[in-house]
C-alpha cells in the first residue's frame, strides 16, 4: 500500500473514529474549546461587520479591486503582511491611503501668497501657506479640481500662526469629506484664479525594503504595523506604517499617550460655527536599538509638513540594523457610530444602560443626572468590548440642543457636562469619531 493510498484510506475514516485517535494523541494537552469558539465567533462578527460596511459603500469595493490587481504582481514572493502596506503612499512627513498628489516644492503665487505645501488624497486635501491677506478673504478660497469642474472644495477648518496658515478642505456641495485625488486644480482666492499642477506621490511597493512587525501577544487584528528604512544625509529615516483593516480608521499618532486623562469641549456659536478644544496628542518618545545595543530616538523632522507624522529621523547610520519598539499608536474611526435619544430627568439621576458600539471598542451610556435647569451630567462606562488591548481615548458628541459640552475621559469612565436651553428634557445625541489607544506592543525587526 503506497503513501497516497494510505492517505486515501485514512482520510475517509468516519469522524467518530478519528476523533478518538485525536483524543489519544492530545492526551495531557489542554484544548480550551470555549475560548476558541469565542474567538472564532468574534472574528466572524468582525468579518460580517466589514462586509455590511462594504455593501453600503460600493466605491470602497472599487478601491479594493485595484489593490488586489497590484498585489497579484508580487503574490509569489512577498508576504501578506507586507502587501498590506502597498496601498500606502508617503507624502511629505506623513502617509495616506491610496494615491496622492502633492506639491514638490513651495510655490509663490504672487506677492501676497506662497503655497508651502499642498496634498490631496482620498478624503483629504490639506494646504499650508503663507499670506498677508486677511483671513476673511482666505477662508472663502475655493478649489476646483482640473478633472471635474463641477466639484468645489471649500475651507473645512484652519489654523493660523503668525501669517502661516494650515487649511483643511472639504467637499462644498456635499458638505462632507468626499475628496478625490486630482493632479491639477484651480485655486480661487480674492477674485483671482491660480492654476496649479501637482506631482503624483509614489506608493509603497515591493521595490522598497518594508518590514512587518513581529507577532505580539497583544494581538490587535484591526491594524498591521511596519516600517520602511530610508537614507537622509547619511542617517536613517524611518517611515512607520499603520495599515488599518477598515478604511475609516485613520492614524492619529504613533506612540503611547502621555496624558492619562483627556478633556474635550465644544461650544455651538450658532452662525459663527462650532468651537471645539481637546487635550493634545502628546506621546512618549519612540526608540530603535541597533545590534550593539545603542539606542536611537525617533525625531520629528524640523521641516515636517503634514500630519500625522509617519517619517522620523534618527542618528543611526544607514547600515545600522535597527529593531524598533512601538508600544502603542492612537487611531480614530472617522464615522458617526451611534445616535442616542436621552431623556433628561426633571431632577435626580436616571439609569440609561445603553450599549454603544464604537467599532474598535464598546462603551455603555450609564446614566444621566440633572444638575440644574440648564445642565446635566452624562456618564459613560468605557472599554466594555472584547478588544482588551484597545482603549477608548475620547469621542465626539453633538446635539443641536446642546449649547456647550465638556467631557473628561479617564480610565474606563467618561463624564460629560452638557449645557442647554431651559426647557430641554430630551436630547438626540450623535456620537462620532471615537479615538482609540491601541497597545499593540509591536517590535519591528529591520534586518
Amino acid at each position: 500500500m503506497n503513501e497516497d493510498k494510505m492517505f486515501t484510506v485514512l482520510n475517509n475514516l468516519d469522524d467518530d473514529l478519528i476523533e478518538k485517535e485525536i483524543d489519544n494523541l492530545m492526551d495531557g494537552v489542554e484544548c480550551n474549546t470555549e475560548s476558541i469558539s469565542k474567538k472564532a465567533h468574534k472574528k466572524l462578527d468582525k468579518y460580517n461587520r466589514k462586509i455590511r460596511f462594504r455593501k453600503r459603500l460600493p466605491y470602497v469595493a472599487a478601491i479594493c479591486a485595484c489593490f488586489i490587481c497590484i498585489n497579484t504582481v508580487y503574490a509569489d514572493d512577498i508576504s501578506e503582511a507586507v502587501k498590506k502596506f502597498f496601498n500606502k503612499t508617503p507624502v511629505y512627513s506623513t502617509m495616506v491611503d491610496g494615491s496622492a498628489y502633492y506639491l514638490k516644492d513651495g510655490l509663490a503665487l504672487d506677492d501676497n501668497m506662497v503655497i508651502d505645501s499642498f496634498m490631496v488624497s482620498e478624503g483629504r486635501m490639506d494646504m499650508k501657506f503663507t499670506s498677508k491677506l486677511d483671513i476673511s478673504i482666505l477662508r472663502d478660497a475655493i478649489i476646483i479640481p482640473g478633472d471635474n469642474p463641477d466639484i468645489q472644495y471649500v475651507m473645512g477648518g484652519y489654523s493660523e500662526d503668525n501669517g502661516k496658515y494650515y487649511f483643511s478642505f472639504m467637499n462644498g456641495k456635499e458638505d462632507n469629506y468626499n475628496i478625490k485625488p486630482c493632479k491639477s486644480f484651480d485655486l480661487l482666492v480674492g477674485n483671482k484664479t491660480y492654476s496649479i499642477s501637482l506631482e503624483q506621490a509614489e506608493s509603497l511597493d515591493g521595490t522598497q525594503k518594508l518590514f512587518a512587525s513581529e507577532a505580539t501577544s497583544n494581538q490587535i487584528g484591526l491594524v498591521d504595523v511596519g516600517a520602511n528604512s530610508l537614507e537622509k544625509d547619511g542617517k536613517q529615516t524611518i517611515q512607520l506604517i499603520a495599515s488599518f483593516k477598515n478604511k475609516d480608521m485613520k492614524l492619529s499618532k504613533f506612540g503611547r499617550p502621555v496624558d492619562a486623562t483627556v478633556k474635550t469641549s465644544f461650544e455651538n456659536l450658532g452662525e459663527d460655527g462650532i468651537v471645539s478644544t481637546g487635550t493634545g496628542l502628546r506621546t512618549e518618545d519612540i526608540y530603535a536599538t541597533d545590534e550593539s545595543g545603542a539606542k536611537y530616538k525617533l525625531e520629528v523632522p524640523a521641516d515636517a509638513n503634514a500630519f500625522p507624522i509617519a517619517a522620523f529621523e534618527t542618528d543611526a547610520a544607514i547600515d545600522n540594523k535597527l529593531t524598533l519598539q512601538l508600544p502603542a499608536l492612537i487611531a480614530s474611526y472617522q464615522k458617526t457610530v451611534d445616535s442616542l435619544k436621552i431623556s433628561i430627568p426633571q431632577e435626580g439621576e436616571e439609569i440609561i444602560n445603553r450599549d454603544v458600539d464604537m467599532f474598535a471598542q464598546k462603551a455603555v451610556a450609564k446614566s444621566i443626572k440633572r444638575l440644574s435647569p440648564t445642565s446635566a451630567q452624562l456618564v459613560f462606562q468605557l472599554n466594555t468590548g472584547n478588544e482588551k488591548y484597545v482603549g477608548i481615548r475620547s469621542f465626539n458628541i453633538y446635539s443641536k440642543d446642546i449649547l456647550k459640552a465638556s467631557s473628561e475621559f479617564s480610565g474606563d469612565k467618561a463624564v460629560m457636562i452638557l449645557d442647554f436651553n431651559k426647557d430641554v428634557d430630551e436630547i438626540n445625541l450623535d456620537i462620532s469619531w471615537p479615538e482609540f489607544v491601541m497597545n499593540g506592543n509591536w517590535t519591528i525587526n529591520m534586518q
Binding site: 475514516l13 476523533e19 480550551n32 474567538k39 512577498i78 508576504s79 512587518a212 507577532a215 494581538q219
Partner: protein, 181 residues
C-alpha cells in the same frame, strides 16, 4: 441539530450561523491537534487559539472553494489549518520581508472515491492502536493530520529515514491486516 457533511457545507454556504457553530464544535479538537503540533514550540496558547479561530473564519469565507469530490470536509479543514499555522510560524520567524519558503504543502491528497466499510475502518484503527506508542503517534500525525515527514523527524528527534521506515512498516501491517490490494 446534527449535520451530515453535505448539510454542514450547505449551511455554511447559506451563511447559517448555526452551521458555523456546529463546525466549531465538531472540528475544534482535530484542528487544534494539527495547529498545536505545528505551533506549540514557537507560539503561545493564545496564538494557537487565534490561529484556529482564523481557520474557522477562513472556512466560512472560502467555502465556495470546497469540492466534496476532491476531499472530505475534515481533510479540507486540515489543509486550511496547515496553511494558517505555517503563516503564523513564518510571521513569527521572519518578522519582515519574507520569502515564502516552506509552504510547500502538497495540495492535500488526491482522494479517490474509495470509502472503506465501517467494519474495515474499525479494523484499521485497531491495527494502528496495536502499534508502539511512538509509531502510532507518527502514523496518526502523518496520515490523519498530513504533517510533513521532515517536521515529524524534528518533533520526534529521529532521522527522516527512521520516520520513513516506521511509516512504511505501519503501512505494511495495515495492508496485511486488511488484505488490501
Amino acid at each position: 441539530m446534527e449535520y451530515s457533511q453535505a448539510e454542514l457545507v450547505r449551511g455554511i454556504r447559506n451563511e447559517d450561523s448555526a452551521a458555523y457553530e456546529h463546525m466549531i464544535c465538531k472540528y475544534t479538537k482535530t484542528v487544534f491537534c494539527l495547529a498545536y503540533n505545528i505551533l506549540s514550540e514557537s507560539h503561545s496558547k493564545e496564538d494557537i487559539e487565534e490561529c484556529i479561530a482564523d481557520v474557522f473564519l477562513d472556512a466560512w469565507i472560502k467555502i465556495a472553494e470546497f469540492d466534496a469530490e476532491k476531499a472530505n470536509f475534515r481533510t479540507w479543514l486540515l489543509m486550511l489549518t496547515k496553511y494558517e499555522a505555517l503563516t503564523y510560524r513564518r510571521k513569527k520567524r521572519l518578522s519582515n520581508i519574507l520569502d515564502i519558503e516552506d509552504v510547500g504543502i502538497k495540495n492535500g491528497v488526491n482522494l479517490e472515491k474509495q470509502v472503506l466499510l465501517r467494519q474495515d475502518q474499525e479494523q484499521v484503527i485497531k491495527i494502528i492502536n496495536s502499534f508502539q506508542k511512538i509509531d502510532r503517534e507518527i502514523f496518526v500525525r502523518r496520515f490523519f493530520l498530513g504533517e510533513k515527514i521532515g517536521d515529524l523527524a524534528k518533533a520526534f528527534d529521529l532521522s527522516r529515514a527512521a520516520v520513513d521506515n516506521r511509516l512504511l512498516r505501519g503501512r505494511k501491517i495495515i495492508k496485511e491486516g486488511l488484505q488490501y490490494e
